[in-house]
């Protein structure tokens, strides 16, 4: 089980305040968090600050991570994204842009899928492969929303498309990715 060590480390952090376990989690997943923060914030110092906050929050409240709702790297990615969106909203308020940035919805308790069973590198490959197989405009809209943290209005501006078309690209792109990943996950089983 590839994420077995995560469970052991999280138990160490949660039950014993084990700094070595924390260090291992940090070394394994800080590049993922830093990558997301840097991509969204486009500012080294802000990205580093968010990275620190995400991991300090993991140390202070390890119980907030619930393995029944997803793997540790995905949880860290969601925490990072949420903090980046807060910052971007704050910047946007300063610039008087009112359009909200897309939120990632909360998830229920769930049965781990095949993607939870593979290493992070392989998950990334599967996601990128699915993304690459979309129509270019769909992939660009999805990257804008989920990699760059852009609002739909910003994506529309960037792609020079009407807002309704961007929404259609996002919906069709996500549906297509779901189909593709479903096939890939069945191959993994």
């Amino acid at each position: 089980m590839q994420f077995g060590e995560d469970a052991i480390w999280m138990k160490g952090i949660q039950q014993q305040g084990d700094e070595r376990a924390f260090s291992r989690v940090y070394r394994k997943y800080s590049p993922v968090v830093m990558g997301i923060a840097l991509r969204m914030m486009r500012d080294q110092s802000e990205a580093e600050e968010i990275l620190q906050k995400v991991f300090l929050s993991l140390w202070e409240r390890p119980g907030d991570f619930d393995p029944s709702r997803g793997s540790l790297p995905v949880w860290l990615a969601v925490q990072c994204r949420s903090r980046c969106l807060d910052r971007l909203r704050s910047r946007s308020r300063r610039l008087r842009h009112e359009e909200p940035v897309a939120e990632i919805p909360e998830t229920r308790h769930r049965v781990p899928g095949a993607l939870d069973q593979v290493e992070l590198g392989q998950q990334r490959e599967l996601l990128l492969k699915a993304l690459a197989s979309l129509k270019p405009a769909q992939a660009e809209a999805i990257r804008g929303a989920y990699f760059d943290g852009l609002s739909r209005a910003d994506i529309a501006l960037k792609m020079r498309l009407p807002l309704g078309t961007v929404k259609t690209h996002l919906a069709r792109g996500l549906s297509a990715m779901l189909e593709l990943l479903k096939g890939q996950q069945e191959d993994l089983r």
Partner: protein, 289 residues
């Protein structure tokens, strides 16, 4: 059995672009027990949560890990681990004894003499009775990390932390200077506290209800009671973490935020600035120059 139009609704719902009537249709369909559409919706949510991990990873600078460990060692609060330590001592008495000896030796060393490299601050203003670790001090005194500074009735003090930050406390305030090197951590247990932090300096104030973190700004904190804490973002940006909730507030001229648990649950409320003035800010900024 697949319900293509509900699957389409599910994706639009996840994207937040589904209209009210269709949202209601989808909810009714799911409440009717359609496992296939529920699974599809769950997969769509899961995909949007998972997508950001596909971003190219970037190795952070090695100093960041040391900074995080510094904050951890400075004793930022954690939840729920101490219960598990006691049983460990019970079944491992040799290690427990050895650990106790180390603790006693360390405590004796640190209580008797503080390390020469301990980061320090200077009491740049002292009016009235100012106590540090319970002992009266006067203007110009050197203050060390871990010490507690308190002001009596009618007293006020300013503490300058190198060239990086300065804080001002007025009467009946209590502050523990947990760490004085970056990332700095001050614990305001009670009272009135205004601070000016140079741009780029990592500086946090912990209060009974939440932790406020700035990366260079001017902000004010007031602990009115353990159930009521007030922050004012006088300039730039402040990140407030309380009970698992994160708020980032930006302002170029005083934005007040009150945290309160008086209703039984933690509430954040934007309120009018109070307790300090532009003249206070200007005077403190002048002291850091």
């Amino acid at each position: 059995m697949r319900h293509a139009h509900f699957e389409k609704f599910a994706v639009e719902g996840v994207l937040g672009i589904l209209n009210k009537a269709r949202t209601r249709d989808l909810q009714e369909h799911l409440q009717g027990g359609c496992a296939s559409c529920q699974a599809y919706l769950d997969s769509a949510v899961d995909l949007t949560r998972r997508l950001p991990v596909a971003v190219d990873p970037v190795e952070p600078r090695p100093e960041i890990e040391s900074q995080i460990r510094g904050v951890i060692r400075a004793g930022r609060p954690r939840r729920a681990h101490s219960r598990q330590i006691l049983p460990w001592f019970r079944w491992n008495p040799v290690m427990a004894t050895a650990f106790s000896v180390v603790l006693v030796v360390a405590a004796a060393f640190f209580l008797g003499k503080r390390g020469p490299e301990a980061p320090s601050a200077v009491l740049s203003l002292a009016q009235g009775r100012i106590l540090v670790d319970g002992k009266a001090v006067s203007q110009g005194a050197t203050l060390l990390a871990g010490q507690v500074i308190s002001t009596s009735k009618g007293a006020q003090a300013r503490v300058r932390i190198g060239n990086k930050a300065i804080f001002w406390i007025k009467e009946n305030s209590v502050v523990r200077m947990a760490t004085l090197d970056e990332p700095m951590l001050l614990e305001l247990n009670k009272g009135w506290m205004l601070q000016v932090v140079r741009h780029g300096v990592s500086y946090s104030v912990k209060t009974p209800l939440g932790l406020a973190h700035a990366h260079g700004t001017v902000f004010f904190a007031m602990v009115e009671s353990p159930q009521e804490v007030y922050f004012c973002i006088c300039r730039d940006q402040l990140d407030i973490d309380a009970d698992g909730i994160h708020r980032s507030v930006a302002s170029q001229h005083h934005a007040g935020m009150e945290l309160s648990t008086e209703s039984g649950k933690l509430e954040f409320e934007l309120v009018k600035p109070e307790g300090h003035t532009d003249a206070d800010v200007a005077s403190l900024q002048a002291d850091l120059r």
